[in-house]
Symmetry: C2
Amino acid sequence: MLEEKHYINSIYYQLELTAKYCKYLGSQLVAKIGLPISLDEVVTLDTLAMNGDMCQRDLAKIILKDRPSTGRILNSLEEKGFIIRVADTKNNRLIRKIILTENGKQTLSLITSKIKEYLQKIPQALSYEKIDYLKKSVSDFREILKQEVELNI
Amino acid sequence: MLEEKHYINSIYYQLELTAKYCKYLGSQLVAKIGLPISLDEVVTLDTLAMNGDMCQRDLAKIILKDRPSTGRILNSLEEKGFIIRVADTKNNRLIRKIILTENGKQTLSLITSKIKEYLQKIPQALSYEKIDYLKKSVSDFREILKQEVELNI
DNA sequence: ATATTATTGTTGCAAATGCAACACATTAAT
DNA sequence: ATTAATGTGTTGCATTTGCAACAATAATAT
């Protein structure tokens, strides 16, 4: 366990480093294929599409942004007509429920295929099975971390 | 491959999400054990300890910060006496070579054991072998990404 | 020779981010 | 009944971050 003498060799830092490359790849992707919205906004639409309508704070907890940032992203998406926000209640609390519009769904679908096309050009030095296993391991690992960190969102 | 219809299910986004939790854990760690320097500064010292003395730009490429940010971190570390910067040349270019001081080495060693102690308290729901394999997969994956993204550092 | 390009590091500004404080409503406690 | 605590969302500010431009020097090209 020699490597444990260095924090930078820990799984935590290794994940952070790798995620930075993912972020760079994302910026490069947006720049090259010219999306009409930011990648954060894509993620937001995608999260709504997968999980259904929800309030802002629940969304914030899923995409791991603070409430102000989440609000700003939603403002931008609403201006563009990709979502609407309607007053609703949840446990007797007044919330602003976010709803994907048809336009939003169609745009997301279009963007998703563009992204997919771009990403498929990246050489897969890891096999599909290995990537799949990696995805699952990362996901399992994240579940453990979830229990350790307090979010304050 | 149903999940490939969503960008948020891609390995890229999954890694980003997980890394965010790692970052939260890092902030929590710093807050609780009270380090004398930021985690970015710890990473910088650790990188120097592992790779030996180097110039600022090479360091920036390793820790994945832009040049101004790297410079600022080094200013802070130099003020505290953990590094010194000496004029040197590399390929006939004038560079500022960063050198870890004895004080820096000792402090890093102290911090590292504190961090290790803190991290060991986290329940290892994944076995040591699985973490090790995960670390290797993540590292392999990062190497592929390195070839795809242009860094501009 | 002169101009162009490349490398290293700094400065300064604009954009993004995080966070505390507020507003408002509801539930729980004393 | 009053107070305190919790949940939701917004505003405003301070910090961080990223990025372009600059300075200085050296290699390369024309």
